[in-house]
């Protein structure tokens, strides 16, 4: 309970992950640009089952809350938060490995 939030954990450090893995290797990308909270997390919940366990699903979001809420969702639902890529246009891609 004392561990701090870790929104930008580097790829290759999480359990079940291949070190040095290509961070763009996502099985499914969900375009949630323009959606506000909690819509991106709802999309993620609806589609995480579309990838196989161990595969990565990514959420691309412009809403500021997604950067916090996607890692929080992973913690609450038992999935592994892989990391975030800033896409440079106000959007962030948040990568999640299905448990």
């Amino acid at each position: 309970m004392t561990r701090g939030p870790d929104p930008d954990e580097a790829p290759g450090q999480g359990p079940g992950q291949v070190p040095g893995e290509d961070p763009t290797a996502v099985a499914l990308e969900l375009d949630c640009r323009g959606m506000v909270c909690p819509a991106p997390v709802i999309e993620l919940a609806r589609h995480v089952g579309d990838v196989a366990p161990g595969e990565v699903v990514a959420v691309v979001a412009t809403d500021a809350a997604a950067r916090v809420d996607v890692p929080a969702w992973c913690r609450m639902r038992g999935h592994h938060y892989v990391g975030a890529d800033d896409l440079g246009d106000g959007a962030v891609r948040l990568r999640v490995r299905r448990a």
């Binding site: 004392t2 939030p5 929104p7 919940a45 809420d69």
Partner: protein
């Protein structure tokens, strides 16, 4: 008002935004409005009356907070007390530097004041409970150019108490004389002030006094230089015509709250434990903040997949008035920086804070309604 006007929530659970006026304050304010209208600086009878009431209010607040009367200033609001406290301390410390060390979970008025002043803020992370690390704050404060450390007594959104005493001990153990500014608004009146503050701020409407009365505390011997134009009033730390009736009502409320607080704290703690357990039992709901080392009256939780505004509106429709830290409920459209700093879910957030008069029956009705409201809203989004 028309028939379609929104009715106020019958069960008000938002004391952390504003505690209802304490009955003791209501009596005093009516009497003080009759007697406390004159300019306390003048030399005639009505002025002496007003001055007497103001001095009396200051003495009562000082006694209740365990400070000296000459350390107490009445300001126009709690926010004004924060501004004057921080900015005046910064000015007095200008020769030391403009660096301010603080945790990410300080109140937005602290962050805004530092930004306005052009201070260089060194913002430190907190743990999952929202608690600052006193050793890390003290270590950061040892860097040259540090004017002050700002640390709230307890967090206003999640209730977690902050280690002010530990911070001061760590600073002094390291030989540092850097002063500590304590935003004590969330806890003042409810709990003793933490020891070791140089400057502190409180707000009367959060303990059951009237709105429009803040309390600025400047410890005897602490350097403080007014950041605003002088006004030649009774108290050099403030400006504007003193609101004597409100100050007196604030003092009366504080005296009553302090006298009742052992009983009120125990009851609120028990009722909040009940809400924490009930919220934790709602599926995909996370209760945040320290479950033990916390304010008695306040609890925050977040429900996955829900819109905070929809949740607040649905609860209001059932007669429960609560607050939310979700982005959609904030004027900034930014999620709560406190929840974000803790890594807590920011959407679907609800803050419940009990008044001194909240009953067990009201809490039972709330915990009965909550799972139904959450289930209804989740059904709407198909989750």
């Amino acid at each position: 008002m028309t028939d379609s006007a929104p009715r106020p929530a019958a069960t008000y659970l938002d004391a952390a935004s504003g505690e209802p006026l304490h009955p003791a304050a209501r009596e005093v304010v009516l009497a003080a409005l009759e007697r406390g209208y004159a300019d306390p600086r003048r030399l005639h009878g009505p002025a002496r009356d007003a001055r007497l009431l103001l001095d009396n209010a200051r003495a009562v607040v000082a006694e209740c907070l365990g400070v000296r009367a000459d350390e107490v200033s009445f300001t126009a609001s709690g926010t004004d007390a924060v501004h004057r406290g921080l900015l005046g301390l910064l000015r007095a410390r200008a020769r030391s530097g403009d660096r301010v060390v603080l945790p990410r979970v300080e109140h937005s008025s602290v962050l805004h004041a530092l930004k306005w002043a052009g201070a260089s803020a060194e913002t430190l992370e907190v743990d999952r409970l929202g608690r600052a690390d006193p050793a890390a704050l003290a270590a950061a404060a040892s860097a040259p150019g540090t004017a002050l450390v700002a640390l709230q007594s307890a967090n206003h959104e999640v209730g977690t108490r902050q280690p002010v005493a530990g911070l001061v001990a760590a600073l002094r153990a390291g030989g540092s004389d850097v002063p500590v500014f304590v935003d004590a608004r969330a806890s003042a009146g409810r709990e003793d002030l933490p020891p070791g503050w140089a400057v502190a701020a409180a707000s009367a409407h959060l303990w059951g006094g009237p709105a429009g009365v803040g309390v600025l505390l400047v410890r005897h011997g602490t350097g403080w230089v007014s950041p605003f134009p002088a006004d030649d009033r009774v108290d050099e730390r403030t400006s504007g015509f003193e609101n004597v009736p409100a100050a007196l009502a604030a003092a009366a409320a504080l005296r009553a709250v302090v006298a009742e607080r052992v009983e009120v704290d125990a009851r609120q703690r028990r009722l909040v434990d009940r809400i924490r357990a009930a919220a934790a039992a709602v599926p995909d709901t996370e209760v945040v903040g320290d479950p033990e080392d916390r304010l008695a009256h306040l609890v925050t939780f977040s429900c996955l997949y829900l819109d905070g505004e929809a949740l607040v509106t649905a609860l209001d429709r059932r007669g429960f008035g609560v607050a939310s830290g979700s982005a959609c409920t904030a004027s900034t459209l930014e999620p709560s920086h406190v929840l974000a700093a803790m890594g807590a879910l920011t959407h679907g957030n609800v803050r419940v804070s009990l008044t001194a008069a909240t009953t067990e029956d009201e809490v039972e009705r709330f915990v009965a309604a909550l799972p139904e409201v959450v289930a209804d809203l989740r059904a709407e989004v198909g989750l």
